[in-house]
């Protein structure tokens, strides 16, 4: 899942200052699951923004609309009548949703109401943790199902580095050293032999040459 966090209210209020009619666009996908971008949160944010504007003697009208997913043009198109009534769109979709909105509606400013953080999952109640950097060249088969690119602070392929101590990574925050996790898991599976291979440097050529593309079930390139 794409994990998002609400931007600070002060910043959001500043972003929409000067617009008299704002569409707050919710998304029922990942951001709704994160509790920041669903229709309910969009409604609450719209109420707070109107109150904030009124207290400052400004005029603000809001409209709240949600779609199934902002990362699909078909759903984005459903917003057309509401967008036509607005001077600006404040979206609670992730960065992908915000860009799809901007592309579809070139005539209206699209403002992000959330910060798009990472691809992760629910690690503890109410806590999402990053698990994948979307590198495009998955090495989990070598590393016991623990991603070194994401969970090692240095993203190295031949760890652990000298900073690992007591099972923890040198960066602190009680983060386990990914390479110690990898070692433990492979040991349990009787597959530590893969750790004796010298893991090659990653190939970034696919991931760093503009946006990547993919077709259903396989690449388009």
């Amino acid at each position: 899942m794409i994990v998002t966090e609400a931007k600070s209210f002060v910043l959001v209020a500043a972003m929409i200052t000067g617009f008299r009619r704002v569409l707050v666009a919710a998304c029922a996908g990942c951001t709704a699951v994160c509790g920041v971008g669903g229709e309910r949160q969009a409604g609450e944010l719209a109420d707070a923004l109107r109150l904030h504007a009124r207290l400052r003697g400004e005029v603000l009208d809001t409209e709240v609309r949600g779609v199934t997913r902002q990362c699909e043009p078909e759903f984005v198109a459903e917003l057309a009548p509401a967008v036509a009534r607005a001077e600006a769109v404040l979206t609670l979709g992730c960065g992908v949703g915000a860009q799809f909105l901007a592309e579809h509606y070139p005539g209206v400013p699209v403002l992000p109401g959330v910060n798009t953080r990472f691809a992760g999952g629910l690690a503890a109640p109410g806590v999402w943790e990053e698990r994948c950097r979307l590198c495009g060249d998955c090495v989990l088969y070598l590393t016991g199902g623990v991603c070194p690119r994401t969970r090692c602070a240095k993203g190295i392929m031949n760890g652990p580095c000298g900073g690992a101590a007591g099972g923890l990574c040198e960066v602190g925050n009680a983060t386990p050293c990914a390479w110690l996790l990898i070692w433990e898991r492979l040991e349990r599976l009787g597959r530590t032999g893969t750790l004796d291979e010298i893991g090659p440097p990653p190939d970034w050529s696919g991931a760093q040459a503009g946006p990547r593309r993919s077709g259903k079930g396989g690449g388009v390139e």
């Binding site: 240095k154 190295i156 652990p160 000298g162 690992a164 101590a165 960066v171 110690l180």
Partner: protein, 309 residues
């Protein structure tokens, strides 16, 4: 410093080697470096120049190494993976070789969050094992990481790496060391050792794999200057194990600095007895002036003269 590495010649002749560490200045004034070189020259076979250690910006390790060499002290240029991608690593190494540098020590590098630019992007395009492989390949068979040949005489470095002999699980450390040796590391300097029993266990595993016969292992020591430093090393430095007895000895000493030196000399004597230890690496950060005394009291002075190496 032209030709081959003097450090390599000392080690390959089977002489017990001594290296130390010199931190480059946090500025462009290199007079202090020249002074340190003059002080250490003749007492050590080579001096490591650190590469923006703890991610704090300092004079480049390649430049500092060249300054040391000019002052008569052979450098081991440290290179971390933190700040350079594979293009920069190779380019900087060609530059270092062209300036006479022959010893390179490959490290992953401390995380940038610990330094004075915590917002910097950590590169880590290569890790230390991969970097050893890249440096070795530049010289033999003379190829860049991409596979293209290096023009002209290939830069053959004396390639080194590090390992932490005390960190758990020790077996994993030794397996990783094995990878570094297979990648081409010819000398290995260890994190500083205070816990000799742990270190002996590490060396036992090293000998089982025969790594001491394929690479020269220099045990790291770091003289303690005060009881506070001993406690700090024990409690706050990841991967360093200081036994409580050592801390207690520093705490009760009338002259802690002298006690720290005595302890270091004893440690060196004990390390020399361990089969497979080919030398010591003395890390006296910001206390470089104590190195000659430690070397002399350890009976390691004089060093083999450059022309006899």
């Amino acid at each position: 410093m032209t030709g081959v590495s003097g450090l390599a010649r000392v080690l390959e002749a089977g002489r017990f080697a001594v290296t130390c560490e010199v931190g480059p200045p946090k500025g462009a004034d290199v007079r202090g470096l020249a002074a340190k070189a003059a002080m250490l020259k003749g007492f050590v076979d080579a001096a490591n120049v650190t590469d923006c250690q703890t991610a704090v910006v300092r004079l480049s390790s390649v430049a500092a190494g060249v300054h040391l060499a000019a002052a008569g002290l052979e450098p081991v240029v440290q290179m971390t993976a933190r700040d350079r991608n594979r293009i920069a690593v190779q380019s900087d190494l060609l530059g270092a070789y062209s300036l006479g540098v022959r010893n390179v020590l490959c490290l992953t590098g401390d995380h940038q969050k610990f330094g004075n630019h915590p917002g910097a992007k950590g590169v880590f395009d290569l890790d230390s094992v991969q970097m050893v492989d890249v440096v070795r390949r530049l010289g033999d068979p003379g190829l860049f990481q991409c596979g293209e040949p290096v023009d002209g005489e290939p830069p053959v470095f004396f390639v080194g790496a590090v390992e932490n002999p005390c960190a758990e699980p020790v077996e994993l450390r030794v397996r990783r060391l094995d990878k570094k040796v297979r990648a081409g590391a010819r000398f290995l300097q260890t994190q500083c050792v205070y816990d000799l029993d742990r270190f002996r266990r590490f060396m036992g595993l090293v000998r089982t794999r025969g790594l001491h016969e394929r690479a020269h292992i220099l045990a790291g020591v770091a003289p303690l200057k005060s009881a506070r430093m001993a406690r700090f090393m024990r409690d706050a430095v990841a991967g360093v194990y200081v036994p409580d007895a050592v801390v207690a000895r520093m705490e009760t000493a009338a002259d802690p600095a002298a006690e720290g030196v005595a302890l270091c000399v004893e440690q060196i004597a004990a390390l020399r007895e361990i089969e497979g230890v080919a030398g010591v690496h003395i890390m006296a950060v910001a206390w470089e002036k104590i190195v000659p005394e430690i070397v002399c009291r350890s009976g390691l002075y004089p060093r083999p003269a450059a022309d006899q190496r």
